[in-house]
């Protein structure tokens, strides 16, 4: 198997389409679910963000020095693209704000147990991002803080609020479905 580094070089130097397709097929399966969860499960939005991430990645491939794996580098670009996308849509609020807001639980969900993916999608964007990165992707709070441009303490608070809200939604209880906006 051709190493990622060689493929990256071929794309950056020659605009090699075959090398790009190989990179795409190798790394998109990892990038796509991350982005899909970040944008709240909207497939069309996720595809737009994945496209934006790849365009940014290819345009900046000459800057890829291999200090991290290509997958890590690409996912970081994907996270930035997802955050920009949510910001443009006005769905990425002030992540430092500590005012509690109620999660908009759909009427059909009251008193019902929801699927975990659906619950994650229902969380406010900031909480959701921290939950996805910490509990699904395995990032540390320091890495999340660096990636999302927030304080470590904010990351911990967001995770606490996200888990609390997720538990409430999963068990179908209404009174705990609160989270800090983000």
């Amino acid at each position: 198997m051709t190493p990622d580094r060689d493929l990256v070089e071929a794309v950056a130097r020659d605009g090699d389409e075959v090398a790009f397709r190989e990179l795409y097929r190798r790394h998109t399966p990892r990038l796509y679910p991350l982005v899909l969860r970040m944008v709240g499960g909207a497939e069309m939005d996720a595809e737009d963000v994945v496209q934006e991430a790849w365009v940014r990645a290819v345009s900046g491939m000459k800057r890829f020095r291999g200090e991290s794996s290509f997958s890590t580098w690409l996912c970081a670009i994907g996270l930035n693209a997802a955050r920009d996308h949510l910001r443009r849509r006005g769905r990425w609020g002030n992540t430092e704000d500590v005012t509690e807001v109620e999660i908009p639980v759909p009427p059909a969900a009251h008193g019902q147990r929801l699927d975990l993916e659906r619950v994650i999608a229902l969380l406010p964007a900031g909480c959701r991002a921290v939950l996805v990165l910490h509990d699904i992707e395995g990032y540390t709070h320091e890495e999340i803080a660096r990636q999302l441009g927030i304080a470590v303490g904010t990351s911990k608070s967001q995770l606490f609020a996200a888990r609390r809200a997720a538990r409430a939604l999963l068990t179908g209880t209404k009174e705990m479905s609160h989270a800090r906006p983000g």
Binding site: M44, V55, L116
Partner: protein
């Protein structure tokens, strides 16, 4: 901080771990991104998929030309249909979420997308500006080529798609040979 008393239980951890870490988006996305990267000039010459190894014993060009004519029209409709399908999927999703406002907006966008695609096609084909007609023809050929490429990928033994690709390649070779000063850079925008 809160994390001291908010650890996941074993069952919760298991639930998170059971979520898929890898998923492939629709096949069209790869083509869409490759096309976008070509348009922006980040990728070089377009690569063609490998043709079927066999060759027919008769001259396929007249059949290819006829098939290309039909397919050219069909590809125009397919573009509209693709655009419509994208919005239709959005509509279904919105309806599934019982979000009537989103559904209504998506239906409107679906209709607009169809009308826009057909309108653009019709305008371009009746234009008196030869450059515009040539551009439209080039765009349609590009769409056809991509569609045929995709067909060959999906069904490598399908002779019609292979004929279309062959026909288009021959036509572009003839055109390239007869052109007085071919442009080195060819840029097509497909929105």
């Amino acid at each position: 901080m809160h994390d001291r008393d908010d650890e996941l239980t074993a069952a919760e951890r298991e639930r998170f771990e059971s979520l898929p870490r890898e998923m492939m988006p629709s096949r069209l996305l790869e083509e869409r991104i490759v096309s976008e990267l070509h348009t922006r000039g980040y990728l070089g010459e377009r690569q063609h998929v490998r043709r079927p190894a066999w060759r027919p014993s008769w001259n396929p060009f007249p059949i290819a030309a006829a098939a290309a004519g039909i397919a050219l029209f069909a590809s125009g409709l397919a573009v509209g249909q693709w655009m419509g399908a994208r919005h239709t999927a959005e509509t279904m999703l919105a309806m599934q979420r019982q979000d009537s406002a989103n559904a209504a907006a998506a239906i409107q966008r679906t209709g607009s997308a169809y009308l826009s695609a057909l309108g653009t096609l019709a305008q371009a084909s009746t234009s008196s500006d030869p450059k515009e007609v040539a551009r439209a023809r080039m765009a349609a050929q590009n769409v056809l080529h991509e569609a045929a490429n995709e067909m060959v990928r999906q069904a490598p033994d399908d002779p019609v798609s292979a004929y279309i690709l062959q026909g288009l390649d021959q036509a572009s070779k003839v055109k390239a040979a007869s052109a007085p000063a071919p442009d080195k850079k060819k840029s097509l925008v497909w929105n």
